[in-house]
């Protein structure tokens, strides 16, 4: 049965976000611990988490958190790690029509990687904007609650080997990638080309912030060639 209403789709999105809420929860606790170690107060940590709602951006900011604050460097770093959001926004251009621009811009504040993956992996009769909103809202609640817990119980984690979890981000991304791969609506050649080009750039020691845009541009070449070929 198709679910076409905004709020019904939002509820569906919130329900389907549960698996990623679990990993978000873990990252939130880690962020709370890291923020406590950096000297951020609970109030400001919650303001940051509620307003930013981005693990990668917040961890990037915390890495540079020192006194006096290197504000420009922090903002540049946050922009670079968040630049993939631009690609996410581009990818859903044709999927969230039927609402006012204001509604779309408000809902995009809760844009999340797994939410976009779930919208793109399969064609369903749902209100995609509502789904993205519900998905993002559930992740937001999980994120803010877990950051609070991280602050509250930071002493428990003192001395724990949190550095061992540095690879946790790529693991969660791999889960998302597998959803794409199994979704069957993919552009597998583009993904493989992006992956190979990213590997080559990593091998020659290119800076991480350059690898993302270049690998994505190289990855879409096969699709552009396909489009060009079908045009002739």
């Amino acid at each position: 049965m198709p679910i076409t209403g905004f709020w019904r789709s939002a509820v569906l999105g919130a329900k389907e976000s549960t698996p990623f809420c679990v990993s978000t929860f873990l990252f939130g606790i880690l962020f709370g611990v890291a923020a406590t170690a950096s000297g951020l107060s609970l109030f400001l940590g919650l303001v940051m988490s509620g307003a930013t709602f981005s693990a990668s951006a917040q961890f990037a900011a915390m890495e540079l958190w020192s006194h006096p604050l290197p504000v420009s460097a922090i903002l540049l770093s946050v922009f670079l790690v968040s630049s993939r959001n631009i690609l996410l926004g581009l990818s859903i251009t044709n999927h969230i029509d039927g609402h006012s621009l204001l509604t779309r811009l408000v809902c995009l504040g809760l844009l999340s990687d797994p939410g976009v993956v779930m919208v793109l992996r399969a064609s369903r009769s749902i209100n995609n904007l509502g789904y993205l909103f519900g998905y993002g809202a559930a992740l937001w609640v999980s994120w803010v609650a877990s950051v609070w817990l991280g602050f509250a119980f930071s002493n428990v984690f003192t001395g724990a080997d949190i550095g061992a979890l540095a690879f946790a981000g790529p693991l969660v991304m791999t889960c998302m990638m597998m959803l794409f791969v199994k979704g069957g609506r993919g552009h597998k050649l583009a993904w493989v080309v992006s992956g190979i080009s990213a590997l080559l750039m990593a091998m020659v020691g290119l800076e991480a912030y350059l690898i993302l845009p270049v690998a994505v541009m190289v990855g879409i070449i096969p699709i552009l060639m396909q489009l060009g070929g079908s045009n002739e």
């Binding site: 698996p19 990623f20 679990v22 990993s23 873990l26 400001l44 940051m48 307003a51 917040q58 604050l69 504000v71 903002l75 946050v78 922009f79 968040s82 630049s83 993939r84 959001n85 631009i86 690609l87 996410l88 926004g89 581009l90 990818s91 859903i92 251009t93 044709n94 779309r104 995009l108 993956v117 080997d161 979890l165 690879f167 946790a168 981000g169 790529p170 693991l171 791999t174 889960c175 998302m176 597998m178 959803l179 794409f180 552009h187 583009a190 993904w191 992006s194 992956g195 080009s197 590997l199 750039m201 990593a202 993302l212 690998a215 994505v216 990855g219 879409i220 699709i223 552009l224 489009l227």
Partner: protein, 108 residues
């Protein structure tokens, strides 16, 4: 609230603003491009390309334990599509890095 807290709050809100702008910028750019209907497959391929561009270099720079965790995640996702089991199993492997490294050393 002290003056310092006020300044910190301003920096934190600037961070939030930068992230929000990245969230809407792609969509607004896409609105400009959407009349080129043939670009749709290109736009939809972008998140997958971005994920690959982030995962592959991390794997290249990672340790053997990181690679083991990744293989575990891929197998669980491929066979059972279970995100929670894949994530938790992978994290347990990462957290056991020290023990596993000691065990591997004891074998050699």
């Amino acid at each position: 609230m002290s003056e310092q807290s006020g300044e910190l709050g301003l920096v934190l809100l600037s961070i939030a603003l930068v992230v929000y702008l990245t969230r809407i910028a792609g969509y607004l750019l896409g609105q400009r491009l959407r009349h080129i209907g043939r670009l749709r497959p290109v736009l939809e391929a972008l998140p997958g390309c971005a994920l690959m561009a982030l995962i592959v270099p991390a794997v290249y720079r990672g340790s053997l334990i990181d690679l083991s965790a990744l293989v575990f995640v891929v197998i669980v996702m491929w066979k059972w599509d279970n995100i929670v089991a894949a994530t938790f199993g992978g994290l347990i492997i990462l957290l056991s890095e020290n023990s596993l490294t000691e065990w591997l050393h004891s074998l050699t």
